[in-house]
Structures are given as C-alpha cells and as structure tokens.
Assembly symmetry: D2
Homo-oligomer: 341 residues x 4
C-alpha cells in the first residue's frame, strides 16, 4: 500500500522506541521509514524486525531518507529546535514530544519560524488532550452546562522521580502537563504563578523540593492549583476537579475493578504514566497520522508549546524566589488562536 505514511523517528530511547512500536503495531496507516539516533546501535535495535527502515546517526539524513513523509521527534529536548527547523525546511508534518523547546527564547524562534511559513506543520506532544477522561471534561466545560469555571484543583503524583530530577523539573517537566491541560480546558492563558513548598517528604531524595503546591492565575480570574508530588511512593495519580458556577466535575478517580479481601475493598492505582495514558498516546499518534494523510496538521500547536515554556520558566522563578511571578508572553502571531482546541 503506497499510501502508508512513512515516518522518520528521531531518537530511539525509551520514548522513541515506544513510538516506533506504536507506529508498527498499533497505529493504522503509518509505517516507520527511518530511525535516527546518535547511538547507531540503539537505532538499529529499535528498528529491528521492521521492513524497509533505514537507520541513521544524523537526524537530517533520516529526514531525507526514501519514503519519509512525516517526522516524529522523540530525541532529548535540546535537539528539538534544530529538528523542528529541519522539518519546517522540508515542509514535513512533525509530531514533537514535549518540551517543544526547553527554553522560551528557543520556543519563540519556533513560533516565528512556523508563523513565517504561514501554515502549521507541527503538533506538540501534549497527549492529555487525547485522554478519554480529559476529553470528556473538556466537552462538559465547553458545553456550558456547569457555567463558568472558577477553579481547577489538580493532582499530579508519581511513585518516584528518576535520578537527576531537580526541584525545577517538578515545574518544567511534571507540571508542564497541567500548564497545557489547564490552558486547554479553560481556553485561557495563565497570567501568574506562585509556588509553595511544604516540608519535603523524607521519601524524596535529599535536596529535592517535593511535594510542591503550584498556583496559577488565568486571564479571566480563574484559579488553578496543582499538587505535584513525584515521590509519593504509592502511585501515578492524575486528577482534575473543575469547580464551576453551577457544579463541579472530577476526573482521575477511575476505578475499574474493586477487589475485596481481608484487607478491605481495594482498587488498583496505576503505577506508571505509560499505563494510565497508554490509550492517549495511541490516540495522539493515530490522530496525527490521520491528519497527515489528509494533508492537515491539528492538535496542540507551537504557540501552546511556547506558552508552556514561558509559564514553566515563570514557575521555576516563583519556586526559587518564593514570590508570585507574572507570565509575560510575546505577541501572538495570527496563525494561532489564543488556545488551540
């Protein structure tokens, strides 16, 4: 079938390999056409067993490989800017894992580059927008039956943080999901951020400010609070309660099987984001592939990626200073709506 979308996957680490498997075994209408990783062995291993895949150390070579019609960027954040610009230069639709670009200055360059093209090519990997529960909440809020949203109460807990995780990363890696989700759910920009630091858990590595409690204000006066606790020890829990003028709605307390034993009634708690959001990743890639085959680009855009960088940087300053920090965005190019749907 000549119409399968040939995808170059940049980065063959944990996330890249998972996306390769997904393109090969789960997603309809696409195939992996090229894999690039500076570690060629890793690239070869990720491509093993797939037919018609070329393997490269150089990302640019992968983009130019035969049958490549789209790019999936799963390399480390610092490599994203160059990869995005290379995709733009070739007119290739691209799905870029978050963070789009780690610093807001680089992120703004991406916004300007794509705006200069006059059309969208990039979709940013905020996959919560593809989660069934988040979509249900979004639909409920957009439907208007609960009235205007006043507050979002969010919880973001991991079992434990990976080695090298810093206090700033609770904001710019973990909470960056809530930054995008809050903007998307509310359809509003975040305008200020304050970070509170309870005494750190003894379950967290020495020196890590974990948990944190992050407060965002929005342009129309809503309040978003986020408990982020990456060494909770007990599970991967992502919850969100929207409190509106005419009611509230809560997602993330899913219980699919209740087991009652001598130890009480128990529900399983997901331990890993790849479990909790497996379906969201599948849907995200399928949506990207489907759109690319139609010649379209949909989903979170680079303005979303840029604002997430700016808000996260403000959050890190708020963490470091203990003060409320205002969010200062560059003017928004006409190509982008305020908050993409």
């Amino acid at each position: 079938m000549g119409d399968l979308l040939g995808v170059a996957v940049l980065g063959a680490g944990h996330m890249g390999a998972d996306h390769i498997r997904r393109l090969d075994r789960v997603v309809s209408g696409a195939r992996v056409a090229a894999v690039a990783d500076p570690d060629l062995d890793r690239a070869r291993e990720a491509a093993a067993g797939l037919a018609g895949v070329s393997v490269h150390a150089d990302p640019a070579a992968a983009l130019d490989a035969p049958d490549v019609a789209a790019v999936l960027i799963a390399s480390p954040g610092p490599a994203h800017e160059e990869a995005l610009l290379a995709a733009f230069a070739r007119g290739l639709p691209v799905l870029c894992e978050k963070p789009m670009v780690p610093d807001s200055t680089g992120a703004l360059r991406i916004v300007e580059a794509e705006a200069g093209l006059g059309r969208r090519l990039a979709q940013i990997g905020f996959m919560r927008r593809y989660d069934a529960e988040y979509r249900r909440l979004k639909a409920l809020l957009d439907g208007g039956g609960l009235g205007r949203p006043l507050m979002l109460h969010c919880t973001h807990r991991n079992v434990s943080s990976p080695a090298g995780f810093t206090s700033a990363m609770l904001i710019n890696s973990s909470v960056s999901h809530e930054i995008d989700a809050a903007r998307w759910l509310l359809g509003q920009e975040l305008t200020a951020v304050t970070v509170l630091r309870p005494t750190a858990s003894t379950g967290a590595p020495e020196g890590l400010a974990d948990p944190q409690f992050v407060l965002f204000e929005t342009e129309r006066g809503a309040l978003v609070d986020v408990e982020v606790f990456v060494n909770s020890g007990f599970g991967y829990q992502v919850r969100c309660e929207a409190v509106c003028e005419a009611g509230s709605a809560r997602i993330g307390d899913d219980h699919t099987m209740v087991v009652t034993t001598r130890d009480g009634a128990r529900e399983e708690v997901a331990q890993d984001y790849l479990v909790r959001f497996a379906d969201a990743y599948d849907r995200e890639l399928q949506a990207w592939v489907d759109a690319a085959r139609r010649g379209e680009v949909t989903g979170p855009d680079v303005w979303d990626g840029y604002t997430a960088s700016v808000v996260a940087e403000a959050g890190v300053r708020a963490l470091e200073t203990g003060r409320r920090v205002a969010v200062d965005l560059a003017p928004r190019p006409d190509l982008y709506t305020a908050v993409s749907r």
Copy 2:
C-alpha cells in the same frame, strides 16, 4: 507494504461496516481486500473510499479475490456455517462474529470440520475476552489470590431492545455473552440452567419476558446468576462480581467522571455496547490480525462457539418450561482444550 493482511469481509451491515472501518482506520497491519454482501449497493457503500477492494455479491467470490489472506464473517448467523466451511476449504484464518452458528447441530458440524483439518483456523467473536476489565478479572482469578470462585453475579442491561427481539433472544443473543464469559473466567463448562421470570417491566414490549434471571451451574459446583434486562431504560450496564473463597472482585462499575450539580453527584452510564466495548472490539481485531500475520490462530475457538449454542438452547428450554435443564455436550475433539484461554 506487501505484508499487510488482506481481509475479505463477509456482510456489510451495521457490524460489517464497523469492522471495515476498524480494519481501515484503527487496526495496524491489515487492509480490506474484498467485501461481500447480497446487497451489492450496501457492499459498495461500505467499501467506498478504500483502495484495492473488490466488491462481491457472492461470499465465495470474495474469498477467491486477489490478496485475500483472511476472512471476517459479519453476515447474519444463518450464513455463518457455509462461510466457515468455505474458509476452512481454502485454509484461510477466519474471525467469525457470534453466534458462530445459530443452532447447536450446525455448530457441532463446524467443530467436526475444523477438528478434521487437525488445526485451528477460526476465532469466534466473543469480544468480552478482549475487554480490559474482564482481562483484569480473569488475571486475578487465574492468579489464585482470591482462591476458588464460588459464584459469579452478572448484570446485563440494555436501554431498549430492537424491534423483533423475542423472549428467547434474551438468552441466546444477550446472555450468550455471559455464557462464554463465565466459561472463560471460571475455566469450567456450564452443566445446567434455570430461568426465572419476574413480572415483565411495563417498559418492555407487550409479550416480552423482560427482565429474566438466569442461573447456571458449573461442572465444579460454582453458581452463575445473570440479570438480563434489555429494556431497562437507563443504560448499557455490564457488570460481573466474582465471589471466591478468599475475597470478591467486581468489574463494570467504572466511573470516569463524577459531575456534581444541584441534582446530586452523577456519573455517566454508557448507553451502547459499541461505546462500552469499543476498545474490546479494537483489541479483538488487532489480536486476530497480529496472530494471522504470524501464521497463528488464537482466542475463542469453535468449541467455545459450539458450547455457547448448546447452553443457549438449554436456556431457552429452561425459559419455556420453567424448569432446570441439563446441558448435554458432544464429546470434545482433542484439538480443543476444555475452555480455551
């Protein structure tokens, strides 16, 4: 990609069209190669927009079309036997929607035909085995931590029954899912069935015995009760509680979003099986395609299809007579394990 599995889909009605969409847009590794329906217009409509698909009035012609390497039977039940035998004759792997064959005599002929081949070709469409919650419950029971299962309490409710639905169909169409699910969860054959008829709901069509309460006994003394209520008016609810020697486990009370308003705290209830089991259908087809591409056949087998027919027939007799009816199975060919996993 020459290695996409070419599938002939027999039947282009509601279920057939949905499977065609699934093969085209959701499932990885397969494509629709032929569609057959006595109503050629319907076949053409279902195949519209797909490349490389031939359309046929005659199922046999579809099986012989170019690139056909597997068969999906979604035609009405009475056409299944002939279609299965045609697939067997050509050595094609086949996924057959339930009921495998409506009557147990015909079902037994399929068992004998496949057993005569000496290898499995057919997977029967008991898609609950691919539902995430059922799989979790199955894994829990197989794990042994709850001890021996003593009882299954099942609920099977629809909003309303389609036109022409008969009292017998509550057993041989609706409860047939529980018949297979109970056998699979318990790993035991059902040995007897009793049906109780509470006063019919005024919400049910005149003359329909709805709800019914069905009791199955198993070969090792477990009890399976099923409330089947196809005109409940309020939702599509499929629940199962397994009561074991060391605890109980319940699935089907999933709540993904709780909305609190002036009217109380409310959770959505699915209204349709295609919503509740959408993922299960996706996984079922993906598993079938993946196995076929490996040259294998897995999942529910024709012995499962046959026993479901026999038990359903006993159930209908129990409904009609008001008495306990024993289940009488033919000898099981060596090709099949007692209850497939």
Copy 3:
C-alpha cells in the same frame, strides 16, 4: 424525672448487655429498672453500676418489679413466647429481639394472642428498618420515581460463623433479615422460595452449606435473590440493589474513607454487624422508647415476626429438598396491615 420509661430487660447475654448499655448511655428517656437472667451472676454483672435496678432469675419477677413500664426481650429464642405472653398479660409494651418465636406455630399463637387483645403491644427487632441507608431506599421506592420494583439483589456476608452454626441457620438466622427487609421494601408478601447450594467454601466448617443462594418470589411477581455467605473471611457486607422499571438503586457500598498507599486505594470493610448497624440499633431503641412514652407501639409487628418464621421454615425445606417451596400463611387478623410500614 418520674417520666423516664422503666425497662425490664430479659436476658443478660451479649445482646442483652448491649441493650442495657444502650438504654443507660445512649437512649434518651428510658432507664433500666430490672434485669432478668437465669444466670443471676450474669444479670448482676450487666446491671453493675446502674442505680435503681432490681436483678432477677425469673423473668416474671422482673416484669413485676417496681417502676417497670416496658419490656425488652433479649433472651434466647425459645424463651420468647412465654415472655411475650407475660408482657401481654400485664399490658406492657415490649420490644422483642428476633426471631420473635423460632417456630411458626408458636409465632402464630403470639399473633392470635395480641390480636385477641385488640391492640398492639409488641415491636419486633428487625432493626434494618431503622438503618439510614435502608430508610433512604424505602423512601425512594415508596416515592415511586423509579417505578415498580422488579428485582432485589441482596448480599449478606459475614467474616465467619459462630460455633454450632448449621446450614439451616443461614436461612432462619441470617437470611431472616432479608426476609423482613424484602417484605418491608416491596410492601409485598413472599410466596415461594428456592435455595441453591454452590460447592461449599473450604473456608467454611466441614458440612456447612456455605454459601447459599436464595430466591424468593413475591405476591406481585417480583424476584428477590440473596447471596448468603457467612464464612466469607473478608467482612460484614450487607448490600441491596433494587431494580425497578425506571432505574435501579443500590445501598451498602458505603465508603467513608479512601486510603491510598503502595497497595492501592483501599476502603475499610466493616467486620461486624454491631459496627455496621450500630446506629440502627440506637434508633430502633429510641423509636421504641419514644413511642412507649407516648403510649404507642410502632415498628415491625408480630405479623412481620410470624411471616418471617413461616418463610424461613419454607426456606429450610427448600434447602433440604433442593426444590421450590411455596409459602403458606394463616389468615391475617384485622389488627395488622399486610406489611407494616
């Protein structure tokens, strides 16, 4: 305060002692005036620390003690008939623990004796009618919003059965609560009973048919099923789901605190009926005392006590014979409504 209701408590065992504590420490408007138990030491111990209480071996002497204006019967079942008749002879209001009288013949004599008086004196201890959840369900069903009830699915599980518990006692001791609750919730008599016996749990004592699955039919065609499992090992669970023409309602899945740890999200399960129904016992006694001080008798009546005996006897026969057994009631005296409210 001369207007405190002086109560003679007959029986100073586990339940009697608990009621003495309740009258002394919890219930307003009553005091223990006399305690009777054949074991005088046990009676003295139960009365220890209370002022103005006389202690007796002979129940009749307790009824005649100073200040006794009401009787609470908590002695073993076989002593109930004589105690009830003695209370009737003295015109004393009486609260009688269940079973009212163990056999239906004796129970009928009580019905006839009270009917002969022409006024109610006895309240029977079916305390589930005073449980907040059951009352909510009763109010919902009586309100009519869910339409006519079609089925009740009931669960009655204990952690373990006391020594000497027989297979018949699962019916006439445990399920007797559901017998009364079902009559009360539905406002209908039970007309037939069938008992199924799954293979017994290895957690049950040798020879005990545990669990059992009991099916009641009602005079207007509703179906009541009860899982009774007195050696479940995991908790005291009493649940009831009413399935009606326009919806269903479920009680007994109360979760008041959800604790999430490394082991998942967990809710406590009550281990004991005195915990689960503590408030119901309190309310039952308060209602009885309040009515007695107003010169009234309310709550479950001796007709309820009698029918419970008859249905339980039919249930035991159904257990023993494996067959459906019809319920045969004596004519109901005019003093009683069909099912008391």
Copy 4:
C-alpha cells in the same frame, strides 16, 4: 432519677432550640433545667412541653436556677464572653458554641480566666471532631501508618449563604471549622495564612468574594489549602484529603445510595450541615454530658477557641491585603497542651 444532668441553655434561636431538642430527645443522662433568651417568648416556645424547666430573660438567672449543673451557650457570639465568665464564676461545666468569642482579645481573656481557675470548665463546639469520618482520619494519622502529613486539601461548600454574609465571614465563620480541624488532625499550630480570590461566582450576592482559596502553613511545614465556596448552588460538601509521606486518605465523598436512571448514576449530596453533621452534634453533646456527669471536661478547649480567633483574624487580613499574614499567638498557659486531642 436525681442524677440527670440539669442543663441551662442560653439562647433559644435556631441552634439553641436544636440543642434543647437534642438534650430532651436524643442525649442520655441530661435534661433541660433552664432556658434563657432576651426574647422571653422564644425561650418559652423552645421550652414548651418540657417538665421542670424555668425560663429566663437574664442568662445569670438561668445559671442560678434550681437543678442547673451545667451550661450550654448557644447565644450570639458577642454574648459568649460574659456567659463563659459567669459559668466559670459558678464552677459550672460549659459547652460553648463556636465562635468561642468573636475577637481574639476577648478570646484571650477567656483563656486567662480559665487558666486562672487552674482547671478546665469549658468545651468549645468544634463538632467536626465528633464526626465519624473525621475521627477515622484522625485515628489513621495518629496511627502513623501513612507517615508524616505533608498537605491537607480541604473543600467547604454550601448551597447558598444566608443574608448578610460578608467576605470576611467565609474565613471567620465557614473556614473556622477547617482551622480547628486542621490543627486537630495535624496536632500543629497554623503559622501563616494567604487568601486567593478567584473571580467571584455570578451565583454569589453582589460584592461577596466567593469562592476563596485559603492557604495555611503549619509550624512543622505542612500546607493546608481550603476551597471555601458558600454559594456553590449544588450542595453542602465537606471533604478533606490528607497527603502523607506514605499514602493519602480522603473523607467526605461518602456515597450511601447510588441511583441509576436515564440521567446516569447519581448519588445524593447533602444540602445542609445539620444533615451532614447530625450525628456529630449528637455525639458532641453526649460526650459533654457523659464527661460532666463524671465530673470531667474534655474535648476542644478554650486554647483551641482562642487560636481559631487569632488565625481567623489573620485570614481576614490576608483576604483584605492580598498578602501572606503570619499568625501571632500569646504564650500558651500550662493548663493547655499545644493542640487538644
């Protein structure tokens, strides 16, 4: 029975009348001996039907009435200080509704007066400490199994606020419950408070800052956040989630009956604090009466009442200034532990 505790009830308004009913009809071991209210008609009405009760316009006269052995203060807050001092002067045990004294200066005078007596006489009406769910959470935290508490996430919602409710009253009337509950659950003083004001709900009266989001810091670095929303429109919801080093626990999501209809699965939400906390009020009064009859005073003490005043005043300043306000407590007399149990 001469040993019934004779109680003088000061204030015969809504709360006073409810407590009179409770002492008469619910609580064991006490009776209403005197009622005082400046509005003598209201006092007479509240005492109607009770025997042996004297009625007074002057609180002091009620305290000196025959048989008065304890005092329950349910008059408006500004009258509390004088009433407490009068009870202290007579050595009478007293239960004082919250707020103990509206301003912290007056509250401190009460602390000093009781400390000067050298023994406790007053119990303050923080009735959440007597709620079954809060007690379960307290026991869990004290048990230590979840490790050190890091955060409390609290919700306090009412359907609508009474006439005359001010923005400050969201703090010093509504949140005062959370102030005491947080101190009690954590066993720590609150040391600072910040108040955020999302855009007010259009469901709130013009000019009322509703909802508010209140953040408390504690002496050992825990964080307590409270959503207070007194015109939520949908219910009376009091929830608390304790996030600890080894797990979390949540109360207040109680669902006792799930009703499923065409509109989904629905749980009732309490509309009123007298419903949600009815049992807590009952237990509070019973505990007070039981202790008084033993010659003891237990429960929340005047130090708890004083700190609640100080923290609430800091909260109101935080609301007015938009800044973090530190809590400044007077030295604690030896009579009191840091946070009473």
